[in-house]
Subunit: 367 residues, 2 copies
Amino acid sequence: MTWGVDNLPYGVFSCPGERPRVGVRYGDKVLDLAPALHDEVFAAPTLNPFMARGRAAWHDTRTLIQNKLTGDVSVTEAHLVPLDQVRLHLPFEVADYVDFYCSLEHASNIGQIFRPGTEPLQPNWRHLPVGYHGRSGTVVVSGTPVRRPQGQLGKGTFGPCQKLDMEAELGFVVGVPTAMGSPAGAFEDHVFGVTLVNDWSARDIQSWEYVPLGPFLAKSFATSISPWVTPLEALPRIPGRLQDPEPAGYLRRQADWGLDIALEVLLNGEVVSRPPYSAMYWTPDQMLAHMTVNGARLRTGDLFASGTISGAERGEQGSFIELTWNGTDPLKLAGGETRAFLQDGDTVTIRATAAGLTMGEVSGTVG
Amino acid sequence: MTWGVDNLPYGVFSCPGERPRVGVRYGDKVLDLAPALHDEVFAAPTLNPFMARGRAAWHDTRTLIQNKLTGDVSVTEAHLVPLDQVRLHLPFEVADYVDFYCSLEHASNIGQIFRPGTEPLQPNWRHLPVGYHGRSGTVVVSGTPVRRPQGQLGKGTFGPCQKLDMEAELGFVVGVPTAMGSPAGAFEDHVFGVTLVNDWSARDIQSWEYVPLGPFLAKSFATSISPWVTPLEALPRIPGRLQDPEPAGYLRRQADWGLDIALEVLLNGEVVSRPPYSAMYWTPDQMLAHMTVNGARLRTGDLFASGTISGAERGEQGSFIELTWNGTDPLKLAGGETRAFLQDGDTVTIRATAAGLTMGEVSGTVG
């Protein structure tokens, strides 16, 4: 099954009247880890204390859970809670949130749309994974309603955003911190797992505000993540995409951290895009190496996202601004409706699957 | 005295072998607030729980402390710890860190240096306080050594930063949060106090990386703040600088939040600049209104900084890139040395005073 013992993502859940605690998803149930493993670290309302334990503990815990679930079921049965009886919470406390810009196709599309008539890729783009800090305080769990932001939409224009968009991304969650001044070590020694990310974006606010210091209010009103964090061990790794020119020494790949993950973007239940993560130019190990090469320290709970995932083919773009070419070529939906950007009441859902397992979904309704 | 009952900034201190807790500076001593006020909120290792109580509590606590310090000294004497017996810590847990760009003169200078031959101010600059998110995990307290970052300094160039700089700023600390989707109310209902900020900057890393998503590694390696947070009530308010054009409705000033604070930048003990905060174009109430107009929520511990404070006169610029015009006109120091950017071993100290009181200093040595 897709939520079987090869998957086992971690999340934070609560039953009515009880405090949130850590669980692992198995089938249509949640394994209540604190009692099942006799370990109080899972009684915490976030994954952070467990994530801070590090790679050896992550591996041993995963093995232990797999053994319990494949062993005498009568023992674990008591700690399996049906999913429909629980509420899912933000799975970890977000420390710093960084968003990258790792898709060559996305960066090229945005460059053409925002800066027509110029070279779409900036001179630095092929030399480093471009990134910036986002607002960690507005990272919310799937299902949280998303209020349409208001703001300056251009010179002398104030009002509700008219170009509300989404961005389909993967997010990488840091477990093991670094000391200030010390670049991170191996990717798998720091990164605990992967979430789905919808980096909601207000394109009209963005185009007016972003020069010269980057996106700010266009992105800070909401960022949704999936309730389940898939451990690195569960994910199908593939070689990263060929890079030209060869990156600087600190960015050279030491292992395969390309990920064979297929995403789907649904608008009100209808698939409107199928972004392939395998097409990404910069891999997550390179993001981590870049983010810390200057000595910036990592903390448990840091979240860094890939940036919008867009493939080269039509229907593979991870944002509406690309799918509709800034609204000039609206999507034709099954019911006969069209859509340039998001309307109030629209629900956007991002799903992802990888060889034999699902990462679940992140969903949000605009209101 | 400058650290008298009209000042009374808050900080977090510890004595050898004891846990950090909240104190107020008075003269050359620290008032140990938990026992002095019989209030366990001050036994916390950060100001956050106290800051979350809100404006009425801040005012009442300040009045109570003033009464204790001006009343029967024999009662409070036992709770006054000599400053030379304590260690000062980061005074609050930083939630999100936002840096603005509120000095007209600084933005004009940087525009001329980074984009010569073009209009120095971007079209949006006079319409909104430009800002971006920084890295909250590398905000450190005064005295923390600052490691020179390494990184890409341009196409094909990797190594230690050659243009290490500082930025003299004020930082505003949020006490009272907002709910997602609700813009902030009055400035004084949310903002607890003010710190000094040195936003260390790697100019060569910045100029290569910052297009199109803004500064990232150039700023994320360290941001130093002063150990004392001066409460709003202590600060001398003045009208904000005249603005042309008149800003959008949500940015109109409801009260005077210009601040008559005079800063000094010292390099190895020698004053090299005197930035006047009174010259700032955008006031902090406008920063708060802008930051939340899109519904981004505030959390207790959010820090937002003014951006570099630069006046119009020679010797009033709050960064070396301006003082030396990107290194082309090095500073001549008293001992006969010159300095374009910061060298290893250099100590930068920012001090500030305001009518009759001091805000103390933020200091850091490059190593």
